[in-house]
Assembly symmetry: C2
Homo-oligomer: 134 residues x 2
DNA sequence: ATGGCGCTTCCAGCAACTGGAAGGTCAAGC
DNA sequence: GCTTGACCTTCCAGTTGCTGGAAGCGCCAT
């Protein structure tokens, strides 16, 4: 199977598949003509990767998950550990974003948004403002 | 003032200040010896940038905000517009992360996390799973 | 044989820094 | 006067995960 077919079947774009080969996530053989020769197994793997990435796992996480996926002797706690750590990272990101959102919303509320130059948003960003964190 | 002092006073690391000069956010003069010569105004600007970045504004947003900050004839609606657009982006990110979090939490809950290989997390990532989105 | 796709490689770029190497400067101490 | 060490300078590379584009083959149909 050529890269285009695999892309269609797995939902992972050709460019990305080549990149994944570069970093060793998939290792297709080559045909006589130099084309990458994929099997159904590769399609499978790539779809797996696509889903893991969609859940926000890093490439390194994906490498680990893929290895566990293919390891008959894995223990589900290994998988769970990776997922839990990832969940922590997500929570952290959400927390930061929500804190930004809170500040930003507040400032936006206070800003008249008219034709006058006075603006609480700029005032807050200004170092003259004593409400600086750190 | 040398870069180190400015870094201490503004909270922006020297490397970052040099980078900001590279991309034209600050334009310090140079001393005889080739050192960057900063003024209090630069400290001010850099602190402003530091805060804007901490609120998650992109560098391009920062460029815009800084220009508005220094423009006596700005209209607060211009600032507000930038902030509102940024808030939208943040909301979008939060939404995506929360959706990931929801899926991930669910899977983690379902996973025994023991010594057996069976794992709902891997099962969900597997393309054999019909619950695929997209 | 001529299109027009599809495949290949390699190089560059995105965002926003950050680390490190190689080297010049400056003030202090002996 | 010389060394030490903390600064400063520039430039290059790496981070994350692709994505776009150029140049150049292969393959199939007309």
């Amino acid at each position: 199977m050529n890269i285009g077919d695999v892309a269609r079947q797995s939902g992972v774009p050709p460019k990305t598949i080549r990149y994944y080969e570069d970093i060793g996530l998939v290792r297709p053989k080559r045909s006589e003509n130099g084309y990458r020769a994929f099997t159904q197994k590769h399609v499978h793997k790539l779809a797996f990767l696509g889903r893991a990435r969609a859940l926000g796992f890093t490439i390194e996480d994906c490498r680990t998950l893929l290895a566990l996926y293919e390891d008959e002797n894995r223990e589900s706690m290994q998988v769970k550990a990776v997922a839990e750590e990832h969940l922590r990272q997500i929570d952290e990101k959400i927390g930061k974003l929500q804190s930004m959102k809170a500040t930003l919303s507040e400032l936006i509320d206070k800003c008249a948004g008219d034709h006058r130059p006075d603006c609480p948003i700029l005032a807050d960003l200004s170092p003259n403002n004593p409400s600086a964190k750190e």
